[in-house]
């Protein structure tokens, strides 16, 4: 993961909400009206995400310096670096306590040892939550995509379909976002791009009915997977969350053990509200994993670490741009390395 791509800045879904046709629709790969100005390839082009001078890793380096042993002040600074990466106060304190303990236990004596202890603790939490492991399972697998507005659900659906197709799986998409203007059309464009059928009804149709059709299609066509896109919704809107629970129930009643995967699409730029999102969507829709998107920006997505630590929800995919192949299985080792390198 974290292969850097050129020109990845792209349209992302917006915060649009429900009476105005929500504004920026999810990115589609092709029909951008115009090419964006080419971006200069900087840093580790083709290798990984661009390390940014003000990033978490360089903060840590300047804090930890060379070979001097860690003091209270050092750990205080480490705390701040984690906070600055959106890990949040609670998880930061837990991480630093554990890292201190590990550092002491392993006889640490340098800044590098501090870094190693901290990396080990972050990694341990990601792994404990089951991050990185995504098994589609026996056919059919119904995968439901949920999240607040503007995080990149439709883009992620398209990119995952592309990935599964490349692995030789039979896939269909289902347009259960019947609310957002042009959402159905956009999913259709993704379907054409990837070469997979799209289950859809007209705009404004009952999303539960679309979900029902999605399961029927999975069965009648013997598909490996159906990826169900839903409308973005803020998690404190009770009616919209109830609608989501209903979509889930429709699928569950129609076919036992489904939806097998419920993926919460989380924007890496999000702060501590990401925890509330994970909590609410888990409660209403039974989230099984997180897709962390927009990692091509400058944000570190630390709130996903907090979600993994506090709620035990694994991070399963990472989104790093708008290209069709800019989605990779989440790799805890690569993430930690990137977090501490940049």
């Amino acid at each position: 993961m974290f292969r850097r791509r050129r020109d990845e800045a792209g349209p992302v879904p917006d915060a649009g909400e429900h009476a105005i046709p929500p504004e920026e629709p999810d990115a589609t790969p092709e029909p951008t009206t115009m090419p964006r100005p080419a971006r200069a390839a900087t840093g580790m082009a083709g290798m990984g995400l661009r390390p940014r001078p003000s990033g978490f890793g360089s903060r840590l380096r300047s804090i930890l310096g060379g070979g001097t042993p860690a003091t209270d002040a050092t750990w205080g600074e480490v705390e701040e670096a984690l906070i600055a990466a959106d890990v949040g106060a609670t998880t930061t304190l837990a991480l630093v306590d554990a890292a201190r303990e590990r550092y002491r236990r392993e006889g640490g004596r340098s800044g590098d040892d501090v870094r190693r202890a901290l990396a080990a603790e972050v990694r341990a939490r990601l792994v404990a939550a089951g991050s990185g492991a995504f098994e589609l399972g026996p056919p059919p697998a119904i995968v439901l995509f949920v999240g607040v507005n503007g995080t990149g659900k439709t883009t992620t659906v398209g990119k995952l379909a592309y990935r599964l197709r490349a692995e030789g799986r039979s896939v269909a998409l289902a347009a259960a976002d019947t609310f957002r203007a042009a959402a159905i059309e956009q999913l259709r464009i993704w379907g054409e791009q990837v070469g997979v059928p799209v289950v859809a009804q007209r705009a404004g149709a009952d999303p539960g009915a679309v979900a029902f059709d999605a399961v029927a299609a999975a069965e009648s066509r013997n598909l490996d997977a159906v990826l169900v896109d839903t409308a973005g919704r803020l998690q404190n809107k009770t009616q919209l969350m109830a609608e989501l629970a209903k979509i889930r129930n429709v699928i569950a009643r129609r076919l036992e053990g489904q939806p097998r995967h419920v993926l919460l699409v989380l924007d890496a730029t999000t702060g501590q509200n990401g925890l509330l999102q994970a909590e609410a969507f888990s409660r209403e829709a039974g989230v099984t994993g997180i897709v962390l998107t927009k990692l091509d920006g400058s944000a570190k997505g630390g709130v996903a670490v907090a979600v993994a630590e506090q709620l035990g929800v694994p991070i399963v995919f990472a989104g790093m741009g708008e290209e069709i192949d800019a989605l990779a299985p989440f790799d805890p080792d690569a993430y930690v390395e990137w977090l501490f390198a940049a």
Binding site: D14, A15, E17, T33, A89, D267
Partner: protein, 447 residues
């Protein structure tokens, strides 16, 4: 928003209750809570540090004022500091030029196009003639969407054929606005990453061409610690004049604004709340500080009522209520007024202490239910609306058919209305317990 912060500060208040002088140990406990709460609200960590240091300096050893306890005094200090950071007064848009150019910029997905439409609605309400200019040439269907929005709100949209560069659209939009005597041109630009140099260059060129009098950075209230960096990057290139904080109807605490404000000095001009085109509110630093401290946002509520309720109409309805001539027609006009105020849950959330009720109320009085009631009344003849007692089985069936409801729904509405009339009778005669006769109702609807 900010619920958890006010809860924490209330806990602090309880802990310090009754102390005559603020001791260092007490203060450290309180400050730790304040620090954690601010961090959880996504206030930039550097800002939190300075903020807590200032509160500490002001609070330490301070003699507790008459009539306050130590906790209240700390809360007061925090409040004053919050107001100081958030800015002393409101940001008034600079609209002197003809046309004045308002440029919206920000990351992808922050809510620029929505905000553009909301601004147009607001400016028109203030008697201006706004033009929307669609300069997002990158996002698929972005132009179509703003054209649709313009149709919806009845504001003209300037757009150019696919393939026209953003700079050219901005330029021709400006010419168009000048020739057609628009007061304000609202320029919607494509979302872009602050680290994307070519895209940032494009913004600089556009700004150089149309010289905006306001360049507003649209920031998602959910944004984390990166918010400050994003704002600094945009500000360094453009410069910006103010912020719009969006998605404030969510439960994000919006601490990003505190960080941006304190690092860049940029004021928050508006906050975006919700899906409707009227969901844009003026930002009041003092009110936000009070809201942070759990005092509710009653002033915003009052303002919204005043902005949306047709006072003459309300007076007329109140009058009819008093005279016990309140008909289904009056009821229908009241529903319209209530709907104009916005989602009921959002209105309730502004009332101190009603935060938890808001969600439940929103569910109970959902818009669908209101719509059904409206449809039923709309399917009646004027005669039936004035004399609902004439509605028997056959009329009931016709009304149900016309409104797409069941006869039982019509029945339920008529029953509820009859009860309402009964209630009004008792109100009019001043017998309703706990309410000061008719004056209470009149006060509520009339002003």
């Amino acid at each position: 928003m900010f619920e958890s912060l006010s809860a924490r500060l209330q806990a602090v208040t309880a802990r310090l209750r009754g102390t005559a002088r603020i001791s260092e140990a007490d203060l450290d406990v309180a400050l730790r809570e304040i620090r954690l709460a601010l961090l959880e609200a996504d206030v930039n960590f550097k800002v939190v540090k300075d903020f807590v240091a200032r509160v500490r300096e002001r609070a330490l050893g301070l003699e507790v004022l008459n009539g306050l306890n130590a906790g209240q005094q700390v809360v007061k200090i925090v409040h004053d500091e919050l107001v100081a950071v958030l800015g002393g007064e409101r940001h008034e848009l600079e609209l002197g030029a003809r046309p004045a150019v308002l440029m919206l910029v920000g990351l992808q997905g922050s809510g620029k196009t929505t905000t553009a439409a909301k601004l147009a609605v607001r400016l028109r309400r203030d008697g201006k003639k706004p033009l929307l200019v669609a300069a997002d040439v990158y996002r698929p269907a972005a132009v179509d969407q703003i054209v649709q929005l313009g149709d919806q709100i009845g504001v003209e949209v300037h757009s150019r054929p696919t393939g026209t560069p953003a700079l050219e659209i901005a330029r021709s939009g400006y010419e168009f606005a000048r020739q057609k005597a628009f007061d304000v041109m609202i320029l919607d630009t494509a979302g872009r990453l602050h680290v994307d140099e070519p895209m940032m260059d494009e913004l600089v060129r556009i700004a150089g061409t149309v010289t905006p009098s306001e360049t507003l950075l649209v920031v998602d209230a959910m944004t984390g610690q990166e918010a400050v960096k994003v704002a600094e990057a945009f500000h360094a290139r453009l410069p910006l004049t103010a912020l719009v904080l969006t998605k404030m109807d969510g439960d994000a605490r919006g601490g990003a604004a505190l960080g941006i404000r304190s690092v860049t000095g940029l004021p928050v001009a508006f906050i975006g709340t919700g899906e409707r085109t009227d969901g844009l509110e003026a930002f009041h630093p003092d009110r936000l500080a009070q809201r942070i401290l759990g005092m509710g946002d009653i002033l915003s509520l009052v303002e919204r009522v005043q902005e949306t309720v047709d006072t003459d109409e309300a007076e007329r309805v109140a009058e009819r209520m008093m005279q016990q001539r309140f008909s289904l027609e009056d009821f229908r006009s009241q529903l319209t007024q209530i709907k104009k105020m916005g989602p009921i849950g959002q209105v309730l959330s502004m009332i101190p202490g009603a935060g938890q009720m808001a969600g439940a109320a929103q569910q109970a009085v959902d818009d669908g239910q209101l719509k059904r009631i409206e449809a039923i009344i709309d399917s009646m003849t004027p005669h039936e609306r004035r004399n609902p007692e004439v509605i028997k089985a056959s009329r009931r069936r016709r009304i149900a058919l016309g409104s797409g409801t069941q006869p039982s729904d019509v029945n339920r509405l008529l029953k509820q209305f009859a009860e309402m009339q009964k209630l009004m009778k008792s109100l009019g005669s001043g017998r309703f317990p706990g309410l000061p006769g008719g004056a209470g109702m009149k006060g509520l609807f009339g002003r």
